[in-house]
Amino acid sequence: MQDVVLNQITKTYNKGAVRAVDEVSFSVDKGELFGLIGPDGAGKTSIFRMLTTLLLADSGMATVNGLDVVKDYKQIRSRVGYMPGKFSLYQDLSVEENLSFFATLFNTSIAENYDLIKPIYVQIEPFKNRRAGKLSGGMKQKLALCCALIHRPNVLFLDEPTTGVDAVSRKEFWEMLAGLKQQGITILVSTPYMDEATLCERIALIQSGKILSIDRPEAIINQYPETLYAIKAAHMSKLLHDLRSNPQVKSCFAFGEYHHVSFQRSDTNQEVQLLKYLQELQHVGLEIKQIQASIEDCFIRLMNKEHAGSRH
């Protein structure tokens, strides 16, 4: 069964001048952890707001938990949990007051659903009398998640829960999501961090309101059509420049410790030729190895392809 369905959803702003979401279709299975991966301005938040019945689409249709987002908006609201990208709890209420406020709104109590939020709430419970506005970023994020869960929703919408959060807290947050998935909750989560994509069961890569690809992360990686190499040398910025001016090279971009390179042609001695070319340019400490593409490599390739396509 599918818990979230979008069919050709379009949303424009400024009287049609900005196509924030452009005929987007995808679906999320019941109990699935589905990631919407893309940078700021990709249309992620608009999608979340349409699915949580806070914004109307220009065209297309969508259902959540089998209910129509326009016709059945009232029922949807009691069945979904939504954690917006911007911290939206009451800063001048305490941790506990915020939580009991949201529980009351949904005709329930903290006690009734404590088991669901417990693994997360115990981490902030020592600070339950502290005002929400005085919490650290990581603690705010945990409180917001508890508030979104307190009415035991069927579907959870998390809009960029890890943005601006350090690498350690990000990892902890994804561990919490894995725990919630065990409880059978359907989760749609968005993130601009490409490395988080592999923690989802399926992902949609999105850019400028359009879906670039939808699949399991491993499948997207396996579909990467070119052989990819990682290369490094003592002088990395000169290396990038020299690689880009080599006609053998199809694409080349910085990627952490290495530059990632693909070749115009696929015969085997491309590597050897390239190394010779770089040695002639006085590069030292050269190292080249074949690697598997990451989601970020895939995203860059799809983005460039989309960009090239739109110019014709």
């Binding site: 893309g38 301005g41 970023g137 350090d166 690498a167 350690v168 983005m303």
Partner: protein, 247 residues
């Protein structure tokens, strides 16, 4: 001997009982790209505010571009650039107005500003956008423009506070091209980021945990020292024991 542009000695900032930045001592060299990493609440922002002359230290010493952090904050401000993800440009001014405004603030002459406008328009491919409001530009362009404006007065040092947050992977790399170019032109770059791959682009990085600099070296040396395959792993190793998580 390399020229030192940032030098701190036991620099400390207390807020009541809370020691946000605890006796940090380090040096940054001219033309270097220096990554200033740490978990949320580690004390990075507090340290950066002191280095920019915006916040008075509780104790310790520091000089920025040769100027004293207590007595010469106005001279410091003239010789540094600053850009953050949150505030950078005026959204309700056009691209050209922003350049003119910041150029004026930094004391550039009209002739210099005119030249800068022409150069930046070409370099960033913004020729057709000069009269558009900055608020209407895509985030990636805004960030590239904000960086160019932050170095418009050719400062000795530019401080970048999470400049690439939320930016798409292609633009993120173009942004780093601008950073490299600035460094090649002798501008020292002091940058914070949550993207661990970007830590690799720095000449040296420091890692702050609970107000203290726990490690400082080149990315390669740090990985070797901690027996880690990536900077990510080094970060986990160091930040895992953190007690604080304030913002």
């Amino acid at each position: 001997m390399q020229e030192v542009v940032i030098k701190t000695d036991k620099l400390t900032k207390r807020f009541g009982d809370f020691i946000a930045t605890n006796e940090i001592t380090f040096e940054v060299y001219a033309g270097e790209i220096f990554g200033f990493l740490g978990a949320n609440g580690a004390g990075k922002t507090t340290a950066m505010r002191m280095l920019c002359g915006l916040s008075k230290p509780s104790s310790g010493q520091a000089t920025i571009a040769g100027y004293d952090i207590y007595k010469e904050t106005e001279s410091i401000k003239k010789h540094i650039g600053y850009m953050s993800q949150k505030f950078s440009l005026y959204e309700d001014l056009t691209v050209m107005e922003n350049i003119r405004f910041f150029g004026g603030i930094y004391g550039l002459t009209n002739k210099q500003i005119k030249e800068k406008i022409k150069n930046l328009a070409e370099k960033l491919g913004l020729q057709d956008q000069m009269r558009k409001l900055v608020g209407s530009l895509p985030l990636g362009w805004k960030q590239k423009l904000a960086f160019s404006v932050a170095v418009i007065h050719e400062p000795r040092i530019v401080f970048l506070d999470e400049p690439t947050g939320g930016v798409d992977p292609v633009t993120r790399r173009q942004f780093w091209d601008l950073i490299y170019e600035a460094a090649d032109n002798g501008i020292t770059v002091f940058v914070t980021t949550h993207y661990m791959d970007e830590a690799e682009y720095c000449n040296r990085i420091s890692m702050m945990v609970d107000g203290v600099i726990k490690a400082l070296d080149t990315p390669a040396n740090l990985k070797a020292h901690y027996g880690a395959a990536s900077i990510d792993e080094v970060f986990f190793e160091l930040a895992r024991g953190a007690k604080r998580s304030a913002d």
